[in-house]
C-alpha cells in the first residue's frame, strides 16, 4: 500500500506563499519525480508530505487516511536526505538499526530486515564503519538502506544523487531504478536534473513558483508539453521558440491552429535540407555523437540545431533547415499549448 493524495495543499512562510493549491494523486508503486527550477518549492512540497513541516491549508491522504495532522514518524514514510543525514557517531549497522529500535522491534526481526537490506545494497563489508569512513556513493547506499529497513509506505528522496560525481550519479540512477522495480514501493523523487527525471520517472510533476504546471509520463511531457514553460524546461538543449513569421518557410501547408502566436521546435527536430529556414551559423559545438549548431535567422531570432554525428560547418556559413511538421509545437498568447483541431 502506498497511495498518496494531496488536496489543495498550500504553504506560506509569513507573507510568502511557497506552495499554491497543489492537487496530486500518486498511485501505489509509482515513481513520481518532482522537477522544477531552484526555489520552485520541490523540497517544501516533499517536506509537507513527510510531515517534517505542516501545510498552511489543504489535506494529505496516505492510503485514503487523512494524514495531514499525523506526526512524521506515524506516517510510515522514509526519507533520504540530500546530505544523507547519517548519524556520524554511529556505525553503519547502528544507523540502520536506530529507527527500528525506536519502534522497539524484536531483535530477530530487526536482524532479518537489516541483513536483507544489506544484501540488496551490497554494503555488508561496511557495517562496522562510521559514515566518516565511507565514500559518497557508500553513504548514499547506507542512507537508502536506512529507509529500506523501515519498510515504509513510500520513499521520499530529496535530490539524493546531487552530491555524487557525474559518473557515480549515472550508475546510482540505474541502481535506484532497479531498486524501485524490485521493491515495488511508491517513491517520490525530487531533482532538478531533467535527465534523472526523464530516466527514472513513471510520471513527472513539473513545478513552477509553487504551482504544478503539468503531471505526465516523461514522453508525454516531451511530446505534448502543456505550455511554453514545460516545453522549455524539459529537453536539452532547450526548445527553440520562434514567431510564426520566422517559421513561415517551413509551415508550407501545415495548418496553423487557431490562436497560435508562437511555435516551438526542439533542436533535434531540425535538420539540414534543400529548402526551409535560412540560418547563419554563429557557433558550432562538436560533441562527437552530435553537433550543436547555434545560429541566427534573417529576423535576428536565435536558433539551436542538433544534428547527429559530425557536421562540417563553421561560423558565418549559411544552412537551410527543415522540420517535420509533426514535431511543431504551437502556443497561444497565454503561452498555452494549442493543437490543430
Amino acid at each position: 500500500m502506498g497511495r498518496i493524495r494531496l488536496e489543495s495543499l498550500r504553504k506560506s512562510y509569513g507573507q510568502v506563499e511557497v506552495l499554491k493549491d497543489i492537487n496530486l494523486e500518486i498511485e501505489e508503486g509509482e515513481l513520481v519525480v518532482f522537477v522544477g527550477p531552484s526555489g520552485c518549492g520541490k523540497s517544501t512540497l516533499l517536506r509537507q508530505i513527510s510531515g517534517l513541516d505542516r501545510p498552511t491549508s489543504g489535506n494529505i491522504f496516505i492510503n485514503e487516511n487523512d494524514a495531514t495532522n499525523v506526526s512524521a514518524a506515524d506516517r510510515g514514510l522514509a526519507m533520504v536526505f540530500q546530505s544523507y543525514a547519517l548519524y556520524p557517531h554511529m556505525t553503519v549497522r547502528q544507523n540502520l538499526a536506530f529507527g527500528l529500535q525506536n519502534a522497539k522491534m524484536p531483535k530477530a526481526e530487526m536482524d532479518e530486515r537489516i541483513s536483507a537490506a544489506v544484501e540488496m545494497l551490497e554494503i555488508g563489508p561496511l557495517l562496522k564503519r562510521r559514515p566518516g569512513q565511507l565514500s559518497g556513493g557508500q553513504r548514499q547506499r547506507v542512507a537508502i538502506g536506512r529507509a529500506i529497513v523501515r519498510d515504509p509506505t513510500a520513499f521520499l528522496l530529496d535530490e539524493p544523487l546531487s552530491n555524487l560525481d557525474a559518473e557515480l550519479r549515472v550508475s546510482m540512477r540505474a541502481e535506484l531504478s532497479a531498486l524501485h522495480a524490485r521493491l515495488g514501493a511508491t517513491m517520490i523523487y525530487v531533482t532538478h536534473d531533467q535527465v534523472e527525471a526523464m530516466t527514472l520517472a513513471d510520471r513527472i510533476v513539473v513545478l513552477r513558483a509553487g504551482k504544478i504546471e503539468q503531471v505526465a509520463p516523461p514522453i508525454t511531457l516531451f511530446e505534448k508539453p502543456v505550455n511554453k514553460f514545460v516545453a522549455g524546461f524539459i529537453g536539452a538543449p532547450n526548445m527553440n521558440f520562434l514567431t510564426l513569421d520566422d517559421v513561415q518557410p517551413v509551415l508550407g501547408n501545415v495548418g496553423v491552429p487557431a490562436g497560435a502566436t508562437m511555435t516551438g521546435i526542439r533542436p533535434q527536430h531540425l535538420s539540414p535540407a534543400e529548402t526551409g529556414l535560412d540560418m547563419t551559423v554563429t557557433l558550432v559545438e562538436a560533441l562527437g555523437t552530435e553537433t550543436v549548431i547555434h545560429g541566427v535567422l534573417g529576423s535576428g531570432a536565435t536558433i539551436l540545431v542538433t544534428v547527429p554525428g559530425h557536421v562540417k560547418t563553421s561560423k558565418g556559413e549559411h544552412m537551410t533547415l527543415n522540420v517535420d511538421p509533426a514535431h511543431l509545437h504551437f502556443f497561444d498568447a497565454d503561452e498555452l499549448r494549442v493543437e490543430a483541431a
Binding site: A73, A78, S83, A85, H89, F98, G99, N102
Partner: protein, 334 residues
C-alpha cells in the same frame, strides 16, 4: 620586481613620522649587524618573550625560591634555605581526611572545601549550562536577547559580582525582603554555613555559566539540523534524540567545557572572597584565599609556606591543563 628608484617610505611620510621611523631603525640596524638578516626574527619576538618572562617565568622562579626558604623577609638573598620543610609542614597529617589532625589545619580545610566546591559548582553549572544552551538553541522568542542576558555576568568584574550579590543576600537584602513579603523567616544567607556555601556556589555559577553556555551553544549549532529531521522520520522520542544524538555529538565540546570549568573552579577566589570573606568561620575558605592570607594578609606572614601551597595547587592545575590540551587535540582530530 622592485624598482631601483629610491622611493623610501621616509620620503612619503612627514618629518616627525620619519624621525620616529629612523629612531626605531637604529636598534634594528644594530641587531641586524649582530644577528644577520635571518636573525631579525628574534628582534620581533624578544619583546613578547621579555613580557612573558617578566610576568610568568620570573615570578615562577621567585615562587620556587620562596617555597624552599624560610622566614618573613621578602628579599630573596635575606632568606635562609629550608629545603622541603614547608611542603612537609603542609602535608603533615595524622589523617588526611580530618583537617584537625593536620599540622597546617587551615590548608587542609581549604583543600577539602575547594574539592567540595569544585565538584558541586562544576556539576551543577554544567547541567545548568547544557539545559540553558539547549533552550537557547531552540525556537524561542528574543533568542539573541536571552543569549546576551546569560553572557552579561561574564563581562562583570568579580568584585562587582561579589558586591552585587552581597547587597542582595545580606540580612536586609532583596532576598529576605521577598521572603518577608511571604511572611517567611529571614535567612542568614551569608552567615549560616550551609547557606553561605550555597550562595558561593550559586554566585560563582551565575558569574561564569554564560561563558560555558556560549561554547555549548556553538557545539549544538554545529550539529546538522537534518540529523534531527532524520531522527524525527525515524520516530525518535525527544529524550532518546538527546541521549543518542545530541549528547554524543556534543561530547567533545562538553569535555572541554568540563575541564575548563574545573580549572576555573580550583582557582575560586575573588567573587567569593568579596561575598563572604571566606566565612562564616572557615566554611568558604578556599585554597587561593588560604595562600593569599598566609602570604600577605595574616599577622604571621609566611611567604615560603604560601609559595609551597601555591606550587601544590599549581601542580593540580597543570594536570588539568594537560588534560584540557589533550582533549582539545583529540576533539580537533575527530
Amino acid at each position: 620586481m622592485i624598482s631601483n628608484e629610491k622611493t623610501t617610505i621616509g620620503a612619503v611620510l612627514s618629518a616627525p613620522v620619519r624621525w620616529l621611523a629612523e629612531a626605531i631603525d637604529i636598534p634594528m640596524r644594530w641587531w641586524q649587524g649582530i644577528a644577520g638578516r635571518p636573525g631579525m626574527i628574534s628582534f620581533f619576538l624578544i619583546p613578547n618573550l621579555l613580557i612573558f618572562g617578566m610576568f610568568v617565568l620570573v615570578p615562577l622562579f621567585i615562587n620556587i625560591v620562596y617555597s624552599v626558604t624560610g622566614g618573613t623577609e621578602l628579599f630573596l638573598s635575606d632568606r635562609s634555605y629550608v629545603g622541603g620543610a614547608h611542603f612537609n609542614r603542609l602535608l603533615e597529617c595524622e589523617n588526611h581526611f580530618n583537617p584537625n589532625s593536620c599540622r597546617e589545619d587551615l590548608f587542609w580545610i581549604a583543600l577539602w572545601n575547594t574539592i567540595k566546591f569544585v565538584f558541586t559548582q562544576v556539576s551543577v553549572m554544567i547541567v545548568f549550562a547544557v539545559i540553558t544552551a539547549l533552550i537557547l538553541n531552540g525556537k524561542i522568542r528574543a533568542r539573541a536577547f536571552w543569549r546576551a542576558v546569560f553572557f552579561f555576568p561574564v563581562l562583570l568584574s568579580p568584585v562587582v559580582v561579589g558586591l552585587i550579590w552581597q547587597w542582595m543576600l545580606q540580612r536586609q537584602g532583596v532576598f529576605n525582603f521577598i521572603l518577608f513579603q511571604f511572611d517567611a523567616q529571614a535567612i542568614n544567607w551569608l552567615t549560616e554555613r550551609t547557606w553561605a556555601f550555597g550562595a558561593a556556589v550559586g554566585v560563582s555559577i551565575w558569574a561564569h555559566v554564560g561563558f560555558y553556555v556560549l561554547i555549548l551553544l556553538a557545539g549544538l549549532q554545529a550539529i546538522p539540523r537534518d540529523l534531527y529531521e532524520a531522527a524525527e522520520m525515524d520516530g525518535t522520542p525527544p529524550a532518546r534524540a538527546f541521549w543518542r544524538i545530541t549528547l554524543p555529538l556534543l561530547w567533545p565540546n562538553l569535555l572541554v567545557v568540563i575541564v575548563l570549568a574545573l580549572i576555573r573552579a580550583v582557582q575560586v577566589f575573588d567573587e567569593v572572597y568579596v561575598l563572604t570573606g571566606g566565612g562564616p568561620g572557615t566554611s568558604n575558605l578556599y585554597l587561593t584565599q588560604y595562600i593569599y592570607e598566609v602570604g600577605f594578609a595574616s599577622i604571621l606572614r609566611n611567604p615560603g609556606l604560601a609559595s609551597a601551597a601555591s606550587l601544590i595547587m599549581a601542580s593540580i592545575l597543570v594536570v588539568l591543563t594537560l588534560a584540557q590540551l589533550g582533549l582539545t587535540r583529540w576533539k580537533d582530530k575527530k
